[in-house]
């Protein structure tokens, strides 16, 4: 009899993108200016996926802004879309929210985690206190006031929203989907637990025995698919690997700001040059250039 063999979950960009379709609810990891799964985000734009509900990290970065600018997004679920010092408010987020062309699931970080916890635990909603008395339940239909059955005190019911797919950028994994973050991993675990399926893109693939050296470090156990993507969080940072590419982010923000003010040409140019024309991640990196990429190291 043939010895049973363990099945690798290693996939390609194409395999991963085949799982992402119009109208899905998709969670996108990372935080603020770090660790967004940009290889897959650019792939989603290139594929022309539409009407997504995107659950960003509790403080989403400009990866969500980019998806909005490319016309992929119907609804944004996050407490904020920001590039910090690079852009305090995502330009496309601001413009499309002001025009009413995207829906915003208004929340704060605590409320967003309460929502994800409800989704993880298969509960219809999770109670949360902060938010009572504010405008949030007036502008977000998934937040409803109710009475604590024990004390009668007003509470907020935060309705669960289940991501069908979660995409994350993780620093390393073996080919069985055992992902290990460098640094904290931000809120990636909460997104992973809430989702039906998780795809991780990684800086490097390591052998299983490397994972077993420090199993406590395994932050995403058994991702459904692993995609190799070194420099895959560019232009954002990837802890232990590279810092934010401030020059590239500035180029993006300038193009997005111009679009917000009515001049779409710089954004069209950015979109074509960096996202639509490269056929895959490697071609994207070639366009950014090795000199630029290798200037992003800590020392």
């Amino acid at each position: 009899m043939k010895k049973p063999e363990r099945t690798s979950v290693l996939g390609t960009e194409e395999h991963a993108l085949a799982m992402i379709e119009d109208g899905m609810t998709i969670a996108i990891g990372g935080f603020n200016t770090a660790s967004h799964p940009m290889t897959l985000v650019r792939g989603i734009i290139r594929k022309g996926v539409r009407n997504l509900t995107v659950i960003g990290s509790t403080i989403a970065g400009l990866e969500i802004d980019m998806l909005i600018g490319a016309g992929c997004v119907k609804k944004v679920v996050s407490s904020s879309v920001t590039g910090e010092a690079a852009a305090p408010i995502g330009p496309f987020f601001r413009m499309m929210a002001e025009k009413g062309e995207i829906e915003v699931w208004e929340s704060d970080e605590g409320i967003l985690y309460a929502m994800l916890r409800a989704a993880s635990q298969g509960l219809p909603f999770m109670p949360w206190k902060a938010g009572v008395g504010t405008s949030l339940p007036e502008v977000n239909p998934d937040l409803k006031l109710f009475e604590d059955p024990f004390t009668g005190e007003p509470l907020l019911a935060v309705k669960a929203m289940k991501p069908e797919i979660c995409i994350l950028h993780v620093q390393q994994s073996d080919d069985y989907g055992l992902g290990q973050h460098e640094g904290s991993g931000f809120g990636d675990r909460a997104l992973h637990w809430a989702a039906d399926k998780t795809i991780i893109q990684v800086e490097k693939i390591v052998p299983n025995e490397e994972i077993r050296k420090d199993p406590l470090k395994t932050s995403i156990a058994y991702a459904d698919m692993v995609v190799r993507a070194s420099f895959g969080a560019h232009p954002f940072s990837s802890p232990g690997y590279y810092l934010v590419d401030e020059k590239h982010l500035a180029e993006y923000v300038e193009a997005a700001e111009a679009a917000r003010k009515g001049n779409w040409k710089p954004w069209d140019k950015y979109l074509q040059y960096y996202i639509m024309e490269p056929k895959d991640h490697i071609e994207y990196l070639e366009r950014v250039g090795s000199r630029q990429l290798f200037s992003l190291y800590e020392y």
Binding site: S80, A130, S184
Partner: protein, 262 residues
């Protein structure tokens, strides 16, 4: 000795530092240099046991001679100071383990200390200005022991009679509104509002904003002129207390190395 060659930003950092106590748990972000400096100044001068989260790094920084600033709160180089790392979703499992004192901002602040980070306009679907969003301000300000409203401008556009939207509940419609909603479990609302012109606190009965002190470079008239709601003005309005030479020296030599407060 009281200094006189401070910048306005150094002055306000020092005011913030004086509000902070030993053993406070505080979160220090990257892109608000004034509160960052205030927190670290307190840590270096009178709060040696302060639990500092700098980005997601937890650290005691007393032995760090100099603290180089970082542009992004996700900058992993801060990890060199770490004695623990916070997994972000864990913060919200028990906020009070990471944050007992907090600073919030706003694009609008009203006379009852309610604040707005959502947007400006009458119609939520078609805002005149889409704000940055609520971030963690709502949950953190509910759970902490003390929170402060900190703004970097002082205008009638910012200080309004009523916020278009409320993202953080201060005193609602005043009086005991906060208690009635069960929101006073951990704190009784904002301690004060720190602006570039003055400090406001809240009148204990009505919970309406009241002028507490004016900064040395400003005046009661200037504050009233630039405030869009009717501020309670006590008979005596003191001048906000300024930094000592020693505090300034600490700011300049150990914390504000890039001169962001100059």
């Amino acid at each position: 000795m009281v200094a006189n060659d401070y910048t306005h930003k150094e002055f306000i950092s020092n005011y913030i530092a004086q509000r902070l106590q030993d053993y406070d748990h505080i979160f220090v972000g990257a892109n608000l240099p004034v509160p960052r400096t205030g927190a670290l100044l307190a840590h270096f001068t009178h709060a040696p046991n302060m639990k500092v989260s700098i980005g997601l790094v937890r650290a005691n920084l007393l032995n760090e001679r100099e603290l180089e600033p970082h542009k992004f709160s996700t900058d992993y180089r801060m990890q060199r100071w770490a004695e623990a790392i916070t997994v972000h979703d864990n913060v919200f499992e028990k906020i009070r383990d990471t944050i007992t004192v907090f600073f919030i901002g706003g694009i609008q602040v009203d006379k009852f200390g309610n604040t707005n980070l959502i947007g400006i306009g009458k119609d939520y679907k078609h805002l005149d200005f889409r704000g940055p969003g609520t971030l963690g301000t709502l949950s953190c300000s509910y759970y902490c022991d003390r929170y402060y409203i900190f703004v970097e401008s002082h205008s009638r556009r910012l200080f309004v009679d009523k916020c278009d939207f409320i993202s953080v509940f201060g005193h609602g419609e005043g009086g005991d509104h906060r208690q009635r909603l069960g929101l006073a479990r951990y704190n009784a609302g904002p301690e004060c509002v720190i602006t570039p012109l003055c400090i406001m606190d809240f009148e204990p009965e009505t919970k309406r904003a009241r002028l507490k002190s004016v900064h040395p470079w400003s005046s009661v008239d200037e504050v009233v002129e630039n405030t869009g709601f009717k501020l309670i003005i006590p008979e005596q309005v003191p001048v906000t207390e300024g930094p000592t030479n020693e505090a300034l020296e600490t700011i300049r030599s150990r914390i504000d190395l890039e001169g962001l407060l100059q």
